[in-house]
Amino acid sequence: MNAHQSLAIGQPIETLEAISPAATEPDAMVRFEAISKTYPAYRGKPGVNALQNIDFAIPRGSITGVIGRSGAGKSSLVRLINGLEKPTTGRVIVDNRDISALAGRELRLAQRSIGMIFQHFNLLSSRTAADNIALPLEIAGWSKADIRARVTELLALVGIADKHDRYPSELSGGQKQRVGIARALATRPSVLLSDEATSALDPQTTRAILDLLANINRELGVTIVLITHEMSVVRQLAKEVVVLDAGHVVESGHVADIFTHPKHPITQSFLAEVIGDSLPVSLASRIVPEPSAGGQAVVRVQVRGAGAGDTVVARLARELGLDVSLLSARIDEIGGQHVGSLTLGIPGGEDAVTRTLAWLSQYQLSAERLGYVA
């Protein structure tokens, strides 16, 4: 786990010393140990290596995003955590218990401490909101009175106390997912698995549901594992991220570190979804490889890290005495770090460009010359 090295990045030394041993050596809620998962060939279809050499831990109390394209192995991964699937090799330790070794009644008891919410909510159409939430409690053998009290509490927690007697067909998508969340939390699990839980919701509802999950994490201390293909979900909610591609973990660590310095092309492509990697069409079409008299050089500056981009343009203009123009900019915040790019127009010929690039590299800002515009 590269979490402890990455903790240091962007943080003053004093705060590092203040961090307790528990935080630097995080207590894992879920730990994958040398996991591989292979689906055997069946009815003429070839076998699939869904997951290979998976080794990472999800810290207790964290919100961890697992992001990947479809087919990357996300669903297999989440189903290993709650024992719906068994690994081909390796172990999955959940809350200090090897869930991959459990079966039958023992597994079912362990599953009660792992809640799960789904993309399509998976509510029983024959039960009201309250009765849907009651289902895991009935299965766990709670008394009727205890169930009633707990359901009322949960409906209030997810903010739909007035929907007690409504059937799923009478609820909106966001309300259905709130019922799903209440149901997943009913047996007071220590882990909440979210399998693309907001993928069927509109952006506004998605935001509300993600806020609710953040509250739950904060107030109940439930570890949340977010399976998603949407970068915006990870950006808004997760503190830790695991990037999956073709059954492998390609990067993992703090969201801020991973996305300020993405190494793998997949991670870079996810980042591009948020910050936009391409220039505006009108600008891109004007860029030519050779300079022209009175034109500008086009320089793109990558902005990574806290406050990195704030004053670049102003300082560059002042210190080098250049009339720098801002052609295009996109800066976003991921995990408290600024991530994005500035596209600058530098007048004054080759000399000015060289001085600009030298000035930028002095501040560890990576920049490249894209060409020239008239």
């Binding site: 599953q111 024959s126 039960r127 289902l135 299965i139 009478e170 047996t187």
Partner: protein
């Protein structure tokens, strides 16, 4: 129509309802679990037992392909073993039950298979046992379909029951054939058909009403 004939119709209606009612109850008692098992025992399913599934499926198909009248006479020794006699309404319940069980099982299987597989996964994810999944998820979620299936089974049983006259089972169909056809009394035939139509309408309407009432998938109001 003479009061005597009307009495015959009333008596025959009672016999039909008796045979069909008991056979439907027994057919459901055997067919429901059988259907649930057929729907959940293929490879990778809740009660995975692919071999048993295939064998039971073959038995169900064989029973369903045997013409009912042949089934009635073919199992006379078995009927005598179970009912103590091979003639009369009570004896007729045996072949009616045997014919309706695989029929109901297939209808139940279809209704259960309609339930979203995601719900099984959901219930498993919070630690439900296979039996709990059947009782708390599959059957309640399939209930509208199950009620319609049962309605269809009762209507079919009314049709089958016309044939048990062959073993002295009585009932409306038998009355229609003996009086209406063999004694050339078209008005008797007509009366029997009218009563059967009314019964089928009644059963179907009741079934539709119940299925609609338990169906929460549609938006109401």
């Amino acid at each position: 129509m003479s009061p005597e004939l009307i009495n015959l119709i009333i008596q025959a209606t009672g016999e039909s309802l008796y045979m069909v009612g008991i056979a439907a109850l027994l057919g459901t008692a055997f067919g429901l679990p059988l259907g649930v098992f057929l729907a959940t025992s293929r490879k990778g399913e809740l009660f995975a037992a692919p071999l048993v599934n295939r064998v039971l499926g073959a038995v169900v198909n064989a029973t369903r392909s045997t013409p009912f009248i042949i089934l009635v006479v073919a199992i006379i020794p078995f009927t005598r073993l179970i009912a103590g006699t091979s003639i009369g309404s009570t004896a007729a319940i045996v072949p009616l039950t045997i014919a309706s069980t695989p029929f109901i099982a297939r209808l139940v299987e279809a209704a259960i298979r309609e339930v979203d597989g995601g719900l099984i996964e959901t219930a498993s994810s919070f630690g439900a046992s296979p039996i709990q999944i059947v009782l708390k998820v599959l059957i309640p979620e399939a209930l509208p379909g199950l009620l319609l299936a049962l309605t269809l089974a009762v209507v079919s049983l009314l049709g089958y029951s016309a044939m048990v006259g062959a073993v002295g089972g009585g009932g409306l169909g038998d009355l229609g054939i003996r009086y209406g056809y063999q004694r050339f009394m078209p008005e008797m035939m007509l009366a029997v058909v009218v009563v059967l139509i009314a019964l089928v309408q009644l059963v179907q309407s009741a079934g539709d009403y119940l299925a609609r009432r338990v169906n929460r998938r549609l938006r109401h109001r």
